[in-house]
């Protein structure tokens, strides 16, 4: 594949991505070429690399996301570009974001499981909005009475948030594994019981017996 040819494929790729206005996969891009001239996958990937480099210093960049590649305005220019649009970007309520977070991190998950964790009912409005935006979808039904729907996030969700996969989501906040906390609390209770009965000498579990850490100490 000579350089001129590569340059042409690169220009066609750029043209197609700008014409599509949505992500295109490597195969969708390859399908733009007739059989005889269709670049191999590796060639196409190389071309995408060249395209990415050629956008340096420009107003837009090549972004790889879940459904493929997309050309998008560089984030640093959002303050200027945002002025094009009269409407303010939509804000999402905490209730919607929390529901979305639970679906994203705990999928597949049912509505009642979401409600268990949030401690409040999830309004049908929120679920409908998420489904309409195609950020979540029903992937099945839990095999329990009522067969409640199980929700999971979609590729469009990843695309919207500039992600290639769920593993690119920010990690859940750094608190210890909940199981571990449960065990610890139980141990603490145990220690207290032991403390109440004979002596504390047995409570040699390092931090468990640390007074700052033992919740029971502050109870009144």
């Amino acid at each position: 594949m000579n350089e001129e040819n590569l340059r042409k494929i690169q220009a066609i790729t750029e043209a197609a991505l700008l014409a599509a206005g949505k992500p295109l996969s490597v195969d969708q891009l390859r399908d733009l070429f007739e059989e005889g001239e269709r670049p191999a996958r590796q060639v196409m990937e190389h071309v995408l690399l060249l395209l990415e480099q050629s956008c340096q210093g420009r107003g837009f960049e090549l972004k790889k996301i879940a459904s493929g590649y997309r050309l998008q305005v560089r984030e640093e220019f959002a303050p200027w570009v945002g002025r094009l649009f009269e409407e303010k970007p939509q804000r999402y309520s905490r209730a919607l974001l929390e529901t979305l977070a639970l679906i994203a991190y705990r999928q597949p998950i049912t509505r009642s499981e979401i409600e268990d964790i949030r401690g409040v009912t999830v309004s049908s409005n929120i679920v409908r909005t998420l489904l309409e935006r195609e950020w979540v979808r029903v992937v099945g039904h839990r095999d329990v009475p009522g067969r409640p729907a199980m929700y999971a996030t979609t590729r469009q969700f990843l695309d919207y948030f500039n992600l290639e996969g769920l593993d690119q989501m920010p990690p859940l906040s750094e608190i210890r594994d909940l199981e571990e906390i449960g065990r610890e609390i139980e141990k603490n209770m145990q220690a207290e019981i032991e403390f109440e009965s004979p002596a504390r000498s047995t409570g040699g579990n390092g931090e468990d017996s640390n007074p700052d850490n033992a919740p029971e100490q502050t109870l009144h």
Binding site: A19, Q72, F161
Partner: protein, 280 residues
Amino acid sequence: MTEETTGSTTADESAEALGAPAEQAPLARVSGKPVVDLPRDLYIPPDALAVFLEAFEGPLDLLLYLIRRQNMDILNIDVSEITKQYMDYIGAVEAMRFELAAEYLVMAATLAEIKSRMLLPRQESEDEEDIDPRAELIRRLQQYERFKQAAEDIDDMPRLERDNFVASAALPRMPSSQPHPDVDLREILFALQGVLKRADLFTSHHVERERLSTRERMSSILSVLRDDQFVTFESLFTPEEGRLGVVVSFLATLELVKEQLIEVVQAEVLGPIHVRARAV
């Protein structure tokens, strides 16, 4: 926000309980004014109370707020203190006769249960199997806090229409390309079958099996002939095709003559034969 004490439904001690206000963003806005803290004396103007109720995503959220205000570690909750504050808050809301979501009342009951257990002398190991309600509450608070944080993280993630915009360009004039349908050879046969059936029904046309190669040769001979120029008869034949090919070409030529599609001319006996298409 006015600091009235009249009409307060709860004791003044709650003011101390709420402690020093922590530095934070406004909880809500009431009549355009930012509201940063719960009022010190829990007298809340009715319109503000409604806003407070909406500011929390439920009892867990409210509890987390109260815990944070006390600078408490979740693992270290002072249940008595938090329960009192929670009850004060619930009491205030109820006194204003606002509909209180059931979840808040359930939580109040849970807190009351935990507090009462704490007051009672511990029963030796008899209900060890029971889930400790306090541990369960802590677990739920921890769990909820994680996802509350995750929701904030998601909100901070760059997203389309706010931080990113899809780049698109206008289209040039596009050739109107109508893609061709695919056809299977058998479809043609089926079509012919249909025609022939109808032909049998409606007309006396009788279509026999044709010798396709002769037909094809007729077409190809016609395609090379012009009406303004003679070619030699021999040029219609391709000796490399062998005897069969020559015979087919000959039959095709005869058929074309019979159908008066071509004109065959011989100037003298045994002279060269010339062929041309019939003039249009």
